[in-house]
Symmetry: C2
Subunit: 341 residues, 2 copies
């Protein structure tokens, strides 16, 4: 028997896909090259702009948005343009991050800049950003109160600014020797958590929820996003390769400044010394993990993740939503946060 989450996912995700295809001009015919680059990134066409059906991402954000709307007693169909807009915005950010991080692949395929060059990829990201705004304006066509639409658009734009601040900080950290745990948490707030927070908040807003409920949904998404990111950080070092899909200790080899590492660097002069080494090798990885374990950095990060998870659960409890969407929201939360960390 299907869970509530599985049943609702099967209804909701195709509705979001249809909406995203509409605003990205994906109507089944071969796209012009401008829209073709965007459709390629979404996983709908291959690099020759021929139809493809590949992994376009998990669509977690739209799902959270629509479930939050339904759990608040709203008609989730009305929130579909917001869910689509958030997913398109997320994908805009990925196109630009892939350039900024010089990433050659994403989801097993070449990144947009690898195929069409950096110049066109910058512009393709800008196009995706612009189109995400056209997407959210389509809330008007679903009969959402204009005052709520204006509010939703404003929260959308405030979130866009926060995203760029998070990305600013992330890139800035790469150039710095010292980054504090507090600075790091502020960075992932902007880069990861605010967009998940927007997803849940807009779902509630479009359902016409009261301000207190909107705030709980906002905070639920925010803590969920923070917990998710910290768990990712833990799995990037101590993760089981067969489950995470990336080789264990990837984040050590690349000397990525994630939460456990920043905690370890603050605690352990030996780790600081080690991290001055130019080309990390296997011995480096072994020694780093030993020092991180000695500094209790795994435990520190685990406690942070648990605290954020508890906060998320608290805000979800406070709303005490009912019905199948509420059950699905609990199931999704559990799925995202119960990874083995």
């Amino acid at each position: 028997m299907l869970t509530e989450l599985e049943t609702l996912t099967q209804e909701m995700i195709p509705a979001v896909e249809t909406e995203m295809r509409a605003v990205l001009h994906a109507n089944g015919t071969q796209p012009d090259p401008f829209y073709g680059m965007l459709q390629y990134h979404m996983g709908w066409v291959d690099e020759n702009l021929q139809p493809a059906q590949v992994n376009g991402g998990k669509r977690i954000r739209p799902l959270l948005c629509l479930l939050s709307c339904a759990a608040t007693g709203g008609d989730w169909q009305q929130a579909v343009p917001a869910a689509a807009a958030i997913e398109i915005l997320h994908n805009f950010s990925l196109i630009h991050y892939d350039i900024e991080d010089a990433s050659p692949t994403r989801r097993g395929r070449k990144t947009v800049w690898q195929i069409w060059g950096i110049e066109q990829a910058i512009n393709a990201g800008d196009a995706m950003f612009a189109i995400s705004h056209l997407a959210i304006a389509r809330l008007m066509e679903r009969g959402v109160d204009p005052a709520i639409v204006v509010q939703a658009m404003r929260r959308f734009d405030e979130t866009c600014v926060r995203l760029t601040q998070g990305q600013y900080a992330d890139m800035d950290f790469e150039t710095r020797d010292q980054v504090s745990v507090a600075e790091y948490l502020e960075m992932i707030l902007g880069k990861t958590a605010v967009l998940i927070s927007l997803s849940t908040e807009l779902g509630a807003r479009i359902a016409g929820a009261d301000p207190e409920t909107n705030t709980h949904y906002n905070q639920y998404g925010l803590k969920l996003g923070l917990a998710f990111q910290v768990i990712d950080d833990i799995l990037g070092i101590w993760g089981d390769e067969s489950r995470t899909g990336k080789s264990a200790a990837t984040d050590i080899i690349t000397k990525k400044k994630t939460l456990p590492v920043l905690h370890g660097l603050a605690q352990s002069p030996a780790l600081q010394q080690l991290y001055t080494q130019a080309d990390p090798d296997d011995a480096f990885v072994q020694q780093a993990i030993t020092l991180l374990d000695a500094a209790d950095s795994h435990e520190f990060a685990r406690q942070q993740a648990v605290a954020y998870s508890n906060d998320a659960a608290y805000h979800l409890e406070a709303i005490s939503p009912s019905g199948s969407a509420a059950k699905a929201l609990h199931q999704l939360t559990h799925m995202l946060l119960s990874r083995d960390f």
Copy 2:
């Protein structure tokens, strides 16, 4: 005695600057580095983020927006957030174009990417793009009817998409051997004219003008933008260096595909042959101009510019605005289009 244009410019531009400074967090204290990059681009601080007062551009678009509002009988103060948003949007596009075109300088200073690197400059442009949306939402605070605000935001976003389409085409043309005159005109429509068109249209919309008037303002701005660009193309080849500020025939040396060149290439096999030469020198420039003159390309472009200018005048006449703002609009139009081409 000051002209109407001079008088109104002295009132309007400071109001737009104040509004732009508010949304870009420029409150007189030293900005944090995130906003600092944006304020640098606007000409408000130097590269050490110390106060500066340098050329930040001519602010033609905000002026057109506010004059169009006042000429339609509206209170131009209400349109200030739209004027600010359009200027910030324009500056977002410049930050990204400078990366895409690998331009080291703008307005006599280093470009953002030259100082902070390509990665941070991409993100700074994204931030500017996001902030332009926060700027236009501030129409709500000026008492503009919410229905007009939603419409204005939608037209703003549609224009953003058209801008990226124009830039797509411009970059695409650089990689192609053949570009038709029609394709070129479509490109400058997106890259230059639609934003000027948005400026005049939003001014009228915010004044609460009827749909026919809005359309005339839209078309007036569109034709003005097209005329302006074609005149720029002419001056890029036959311009008087002492007036244009760039050396004559710059666009020939760089083999830029502007309107006269595309006309010439379509007419003259000899010019096509010449343009296969790898490193243009002075002899190349001389010969190209001779061939362009033989193909009547200067005259062709001049006729296009005159036709667009006449169209712009027709739409301005059709609205027949009155008062000092209307006079200023005529003066500005004359100033932009009466350059010696």
